[in-house]
């Protein structure tokens, strides 16, 4: 029985310490509360039992003592002999327990019974003033008091002993009554605690149901933050959900923008292309045909550049949110960009120069995004400026710089201020290539890298466009 209880408790404690992550909260709480109630109830019951017995013992022992004292008080020496006149009142108090039997014996100084049951024998002969014994009499347990009285008179000198015993029925009944009411109190308190616990669990979990309701009743495309009042313990959860949704929202918005942009930007050149091809198929004049074909070729080239940029912009926005930053040597970015620009679409070598420092110039970032930004600036330099174009990597204070310098006329101030907004073209009236997406990509990359774009006049002539990044402090080694 006991070992079973111990095993149950061990299992319960174990499952509390290492809870199964998917176990119901209600069950976990119910388990811990019932363990608490069981252990507490057992403790209180044991205590009540001990206390009840003790209280009943003390009360009835006093009655025994009173009765024995009355007998002793009535003992006297007459003519050198001990005379005991047992008063009726001595047993009146004991008679308050009607079901119990009372026995007595008075032992003289020589150990002989003066009066009472001979068979009432106390286990030791030591002569204490007052002593209590638990004995058995006629097969029934009894409580016995032994009270001594010493006579020191000329006629008689010695000690007599008064033994009074009583069966235990009334005192057991009292003990049981005391224990019973204590246990009743424990049960009542336990039950009310359980009810309170259930209410507490229910009210603690209610905010979760509120969150659930808020989710199930919202529109699938609604990614606005949750507006549900929750207790402070749940605030981090709700905040995490809201952060996640805002990221999702940003990505959706990006995708939507991209689709809108792409539709807008792709349809026009495709329409032109179709119209031109249709015209060309019906053209019989070889001169007009070749003009038409040249136009188609130019259109298809700008279309492919546009597709590239739209896709790359989407890629970069996606990477800004998702790619882990590493240490990147800006010289490598410049080198790899230069490799892609060494030959132009006409097959001619381009005048592109590299001006790199001897030691590595570290920045924390995504190498692909940085290269894409650099490519767009170099492309702009070739389209809007004059070669030779120089790629410069330098360190200025705690900033690192990747700059593109050309020998052209520079940039009108108005365009400079708006540079980087989508669809802002260098010269809106000109027919030259330029979708405005290039600088938008550059701005996205700079934003993700805490960088800035600076336009400044180049040394002698032309424009120097600098991407300025915070240097990677931990990467200053060679």
């Amino acid at each position: 029985m006991e070992s079973l209880f111990v095993r149950c408790a061990a299992w319960g404690i174990n499952s509390l310490m290492k809870p199964d992550q998917r176990a119901s909260l209600t069950r976990r709480l119910a388990l811990s509360i019932s363990l608490l109630l069981l252990a507490g109830g057992a403790l209180v019951s044991v205590a009540a039992l001990a206390y009840g017995r003790q209280a009943a013992q003390t009360a009835f022992d006093r009655l025994l003592l009173g009765s024995a004292r009355q007998i002793v008080a009535n003992a006297s020496v007459v003519d050198g002999r001990v005379m005991v006149d047992i008063p009726v009142s001595a047993f009146e108090l004991l008679a308050l327990a009607p079901d119990d039997r009372v026995v007595y014996r008075i032992v003289g100084h020589d150990g002989k019974t003066l009066t009472g049951y001979d068979s009432l024998i106390i286990p030791d002969d030591d002569v204490r003033d007052v002593a209590y014994y638990n004995l058995e009499f006629n097969g029934e347990p009894i409580r016995v008091i032994a009270l001594s009285k010493r006579f020191a008179e000329r006629a008689f000198s010695g000690t007599i002993q008064v033994l009074v015993g009583q069966t235990l029925r009334a005192r057991n009944a009292l003990a049981q009554e005391l224990v019973g009411s204590a246990v009743l109190v424990v049960v009542l308190v336990g039950a009310s605690m359980a009810i309170l616990a259930i209410i507490a669990v229910y009210s603690a979990l209610r905010p979760l149901y509120r969150i659930e309701n808020s989710f199930s009743s919202r529109d699938p495309r609604d990614l606005t933050p949750l507006d549900v009042a929750v207790p402070s313990e749940l605030t981090p959860v709700v905040n995490a959900i809201n952060r996640f949704m805002s990221r999702l929202d940003r990505q959706m918005e990006t995708t939507n923008n991209l689709i809108a942009d792409s539709a807008h930007q792709l349809r026009t050149p495709i329409a032109a292309l179709r119209a031109q091809t249709e015209l060309a198929t019906e053209e019989s004049d070889p001169k007009a045909l070749s003009v038409s074909l040249a136009r188609i070729h130019a259109r298809s080239r700008s279309l492919s550049r546009l597709t590239d940029q739209l896709l790359n912009r989407a890629l970069i926005i996606h990477r800004n949110d998702s790619v882990v930053r590493t240490r990147v040597d800006l010289r490598t970015v410049a080198m790899e960009t230069a490799d892609e620009f060494d030959i132009d679409s006409q097959g001619r070598a381009r005048e592109l120069r590299l001006q790199l420092p001897e030691f590595a110039v570290w920045v924390r970032g995504d190498v692909l995004s940085l290269r894409e930004a650099c490519k767009n600036l170099v492309n702009n330099a070739f389209v809007h400026g004059q070669p030779p174009v120089t790629l410069i990597v330098e360190t200025i204070g705690d900033k690192v710089v990747l700059a593109i310098q050309d020998q052209g006329q520079g940039m009108p101030l108005q365009t400079e201020l708006r540079a980087g907004e989508r669809f802002v073209q260098a010269d809106e009236t000109s027919n030259r290539l330029g979708t405005g997406i290039g600088l938008a990509i550059v701005q996205e990359v700079l934003k993700a890298h805490d960088g800035k774009l600076l336009f400044s006049p180049a040394d002698r002539q032309g424009l120097k466009v600098s991407m300025v990044f915070p240097g990677d402090r931990y990467g200053s080694d060679a």
Partner: protein
Amino acid sequence: MRLLLVEDTADVAEAIALSFARVGDTLDCAFDLKQARSSLSLQQYDVLILDINLPDGSGKDLLRELRRERNTIPVLMLTARLGIEERVSSLDGGADDYLTKPFDLRELQARVRALHRRSPTVRETFIEFGSLVIDIAGKTLSCNGEELTLTRREFSLLEALLDRRGRVASKEHILGRMFSFDEADVGTNAIELYVSRLRRKLSGSGVAIRTLRGLGYQLVDEA
């Protein structure tokens, strides 16, 4: 030039073939890896133009096979993938250059020709760089008309730097040009020695060799 094009899109392949034929080059077309392998085993090509996505596998596998067999044919990869990550993996796989689709035929021709020029079998005969005139065939170097004498190793170092003039020549590239395969255990430290010797000989010419730590060397005209 004799070229092999591995490309499965018929009209793209046809356009490329015609454009090379117009300037007098011979271009064979393979539409998958199987045809490409048999063509390569039958014929010696100057440059291989290799698409990545092919019906029976990836062009990168063929490239890896070739390089494992120590075939040093210059390879230009064509890719239509988004993202330039492809670039890194294909260049690591042993490609010499790459071009993203869509591209202009003239740019393709120029890149193929540049690869061909760089390959060890065919070289430009004269290169001018700053005040230097380099006669590749005659292995002589002159500065402002004055002849400078270089050892064989120094000259191949100069050639390696000239391959990448205006760009950066990596130590690996230089090592590959200066030493043959059986001398491969020559460390990159040896390069530093030759660079300092060549630097001394070029002093006063206005042409300098810049050291870019961690990247390689760059030949620059400082005049």
